[in-house]
Amino acid sequence: MKTAKRIIKGNKFSGRSFLERHSVFFLQLPFLALFFTFILLPVVVAFFLSFTDFNSIQTPRFIGLDNYVNLFTKDTVFMRYALPNTLSFALVVGVMGYILSFLMAWSLAQVTKGWRTVLAVILYSPSLTGSAMMGAVWRVVFSEDKVGYLNAFLLKQGLIQSPVNWLTNPQTLMMVMVLVSLWSSMGIGFLAMLAGILNVNRELYEAAYIDGVINRWQEILYITVPAAAPQMLFGAVMAVVGTFQSGSIGVVLSGGQNPTPGYAGQLLVTHIEDYGFLRYEMGYAAAVSVVLLLMIYGISRLTNRLFAGEDTAS
């Protein structure tokens, strides 16, 4: 009784009880403070900066929509290279990478656990090479001179007469970028889809078999995809984000050159870096950032819509 009283008393007046009463606030405080400062605030700042002329030294000057107008009417690099490159890169790498991830996850679900684990680790491991390693890894293969593995191989087979400058030739740079991005596209979204497919209830397959599902395509379409849809949506969001995240791959592959040779590997991300950190036109770069974020948001909404359709169909 005495101790109970002491505990109550202690709780009421000590600092600990204050923390305890406001635990919802204090437990969230560190995350939310950092989240607002480093994730939300940058987006808000980018939005406001995009309406200004700002060279990072003088105070930003409000210029209304000028940055956007210039971006869409005067910036030939943006209209001719950065925007179309980004769209085609996103389409090819995003869609193909996603389909590839799903097919690999689905295939892995059909083999025994030992094989599955080893193969999943191998397929996932390229996504562990961040941009820092990417350059070194792929330079070995695409090295310009005849000592590069790919050039040496093609020369030996007689498929080419002289070494190809894979990384400085505007015609091949984009192709290499797509290839490298696809190679590293099986990341966390791929693992989520694999887990989702493995967790589909076996009885669903048996029921479908009784209902007359006759081939694998039907099985995928009517059971696997709807049942693993939540993980597949997560995988889709990760694919969209990953695709745009890897936007600086062109600069990395061409040895840190920005702009990339002949603007061939110029994407929105590299365009932002070009204007922001090389020319110090921060307001203009912020406008490109806003366009990029809107694009990512739009594409994510679209994927969401697709999966919503999938849900009602099943």
């Binding site: 940058p42 987006v43 980018a46």
Partner: protein, 312 residues
């Protein structure tokens, strides 16, 4: 009849417990594909241990015949020329990565617990906001981030390689989804026993979400270990930059080849090749911890991913 049986075997084929011949066709394309995907990393592995004359070889040979640690020694020697030893970069990487991992785990799990198990206004809005922010690609907002870091006085501070990485929306998302699986009754029982939120978090939640924590550990390790953002944009002082940055400075441009050709007294071309060996060695140092960590925690990661589902 036989057709029906065949169908049945195929359907049970999903997530099989035992090996059977039907799986061969999947392995038939999965294994070659995995081998092709491994190739670049295998190249790096062999190159890292190649002596200079084998790097010179034409036609190039994948396999290293006389493995040597020369490239690793060159890596150390190259940086010794520049007053900042390679070990310093490596130490910076280790320290910032460990700090990021530990702090991310702490703040993510506490916030995720509250968002999963407590009832308060704004809860759904906050989680929704976090979900949308999965799409805020960090590279897109590099410039405003730079200004915020400047305002906070973090320029040229070691902390600029730690603090901006701590809030990880995907981490919060995964941990919160995982905590949702813990039955309400368990938390309630602890509360009746007089446990406060901090005690519940420590004694009930934490021990039950180790797979999710392992996943966040893997992801935060990757984001910190591979990050060059802080070293490139926020730091002028070489002594606080990390190993990932050092590696890009080696492989980008002729940086390494200049130094090594001066070092070995050879031509620029031989320097470039030696540079290739050095950057292969550096890449291997970067890659192996990433891989080892994932291999050890992969079953936990897979367990977490099962709860990663999103409703559209």
């Amino acid at each position: 009849m036989s057709k029906r049986n065949k169908n049945k075997i195929r359907i049970i084929g999903m997530n099989p417990q035992r090996f059977d011949k039907g799986q061969l066709k999947f392995l038939g394309y999965l294994i070659p594909l995995a081998l092709v995907m491994m190739l670049p990393i295998v190249f790096i592995f062999f190159n890292a241990f190649k002596p200079t004359e084998e790097l010179f070889l034409y036609p190039p040979r994948f396999i290293t015949l006389r493995p040597t640690l020369q490239n690793f020694r060159n890596l150390v020697a190259t940086s010794a020329n520049k007053a900042i030893p390679a070990s310093r970069y490596l130490f910076n990487s280790l320290l910032s990565t460990l700090l990021v991992m530990a702090l991310t785990l702490l703040i993510t799990s506490s916030a995720a617990y509250v968002m999963s198990k407590k009832r308060y206004r704004l809860k759904n809005m906050l989680f929704e906001l976090n979900k949308i922010s999965l799409m805020f690609v960090p590279v897109a907002v590099a410039i405003p981030r730079y200004f915020i870091i400047t305002r906070l006085g973090l320029i040229d501070s070691f902390l600029s390689s730690v603090i901006p990485l701590l809030a990880m929306p995907v981490g919060l998302y995964l941990v919160k989804q995982f905590i949702d699986q813990i039955p309400e009754s368990m938390v309630e029982a602890a509360r009746i026993d007089g446990a406060g939120d901090y005690a519940i978090l420590r004694r009930i939640i934490m021990p039950n979400i180790t797979p999710a924590l392992a996943t966040v550990a893997v992801l935060s390790f990757q984001s910190a270990w591979n990050s060059t953002e802080a070293s490139v944009y926020y730091m002028h002082n070489e002594a606080i930059k990390n190993f990932a940055y050092y590696l890009t400075s080696l492989s980008a441009g002729g940086n390494a080849s200049d130094v090594t050709s001066a070092l070995t007294g050879g031509s620029a071309a031989s320097g470039a090749l030696a540079g290739m060996g050095i950057s292969a060695a550096g890449t291997l140092i970067m890659f192996v911890p990433n891989l080892v960590m994932f291999i050890f925690l992969q079953s936990k990661v897979m367990n977490t991913m099962a709860h990663s589902g999103m409703k559209s």
